[in-house]
């Protein structure tokens, strides 16, 4: 059983290595072209300044960002964890019968109460 598990998922480790190697080889190819003087490399201060529509840079390069991103991230964590719990439940839905149905209704009800609360407190508005 455990050996089976590793056979199924060991391949994924190999594929991660391939997935890293593919774009890296593209970047290396590009770098090799620069060694062969095909790819130009002529930096100058104006070219290597951050793009700001051609204007002189105003203030810091890292802008402060709005707090509202956090509320969405928090909501996401809540909902995402819940939905992942629903997956094993969905696969065994037919075996579990009535228990599964009621369990799901309670579960979704709790989530929906939380969602309505978030809406009422204007956490879902983009202000």
């Amino acid at each position: 059983m455990l050996e089976d598990y590793f056979r199924q998922y060991g391949l994924i480790a190999v594929f991660i290595a391939v997935a890293v190697a593919l774009p890296t080889s593209l970047l290396l190819l590009s770098w090799a072209l620069s060694l062969a003087r095909i790819r130009p490399h002529k930096p100058n201060p104006v070219k290597s300044s951050p793009y700001e529509c051609g204007m002189e840079i105003i203030g810091s390069r890292w802008v402060r960002f709005n707090f509202r991103y956090y509320t969405f991230a928090l909501l996401f964590v809540v909902f995402d964890v819940e939905t992942v719990f629903l997956y094993p439940w969905a696969v065994y839905f037919k075996q579990l019968g009535l228990f599964a149905l009621i369990e799901m209704l309670v579960f979704v009800l709790i989530l929906m109460v939380a969602w309505a609360y978030a809406w009422r407190n204007k956490a879902l508005e983009w202000r």
């Binding site: 790819r39 201060p45 793009y51 810091s60 802008v63 997956y87 019968g97 879902l124 508005e125």
Partner: protein, 372 residues
Amino acid sequence: MSLGDGIRMIAGILGLFLGLTIVVLSLTWLERKFLGRIQMRMGPMRVGPYGLLQAVADAVKLVAKEDIMPGRVDRVVYWMAPLVVFIPSFMVWVTIPFARDLVVRNLEMGLLYIIAFSVLSIVGLVTAGWSSANKYAVLGGFRAAAQLVSYEIPIILAVLGVAMLSQSMNLVKVVEDQATVPYFLVQPLGVFLFLLAGLAEVGRTPFDIHQAESEVVGGPFVEYSGAHWAVFFLAEYINTFTIAALMVLLFLGGWLLPGLPGDVAGVGFLVFGVKTYLVVLVIFWLRGTYPRLRIDQLMSLGWKVLVPLAFVNVVTTGMYLFYGWPAWSLTLMSVAILAVTFWTIGRRMRTTPKPEYTVKLYVPTTEVPHAG
């Protein structure tokens, strides 16, 4: 690991590499050509017959182009970010079957694996934005995070509906279960949710708020050029194809077509390919038709429309499975829910009073104000 496993693995790696390269090259050409036709233009015509070699020319150009590393970027993170975006888009294909026996590894938890991996690309987009040390890029990165995170929930729940119907997370079993009735007939609501949320997940045009050229000039990718940018580009097209392929596998019956022996690998592969390219064309068509959503519209569509609809979809599917109602009852419920939703949204759009615009004078300060 036996010899058979080794051969299978190498064949899988080579097949995926070649297949995805061909897919990306064909999609870039197809998109430009199709958008051109929609806008009554010819599209690419110069390089090769019908501009077919345009994609190759673009690839060569991108690799041979100057790779500008702007002054004060966070070098390591800046270099890594394209890889972080690319890896999940490639990894997902390990378990996506092209035909019944044409799959690298048919994982028992395939659907969960795909979802788990596809979320990772958010990290890449945020780090790309942050490390670029550019205001537009930082904003684009955060927008990407907010958007992808919001549409993750509807897409997970839409996929959950399919997992409930087929009682499996194995993609091959999901397709085999659609031999009589494909799921798009059973669960129109699920198709609707999956298409919209999927478009948002890959950032195609009605939902490309994080790279909106007219607002944040390309978002997280502003500072990228040459080969680095090419990697992002590759990932984006692979993701588009992935969403189309998943749409075909989950809802449109995969390699099965009534009257054709879809179980034969060659036929199945062809059917799957044709279906997937048709879905891709629909995605391009949407791009050519609809304007971009504003960010507040995007967030409210995600949280106030798609999330509750997705939960309703799960609940109705659960009721249908538990009581053993005939399949058309779920179809009827789905269509009714969709109709009510469209009617409500349409009514709200008509009756919403026009927002009052106030003119704010720009007061120059040394600090950059909060921006969205």
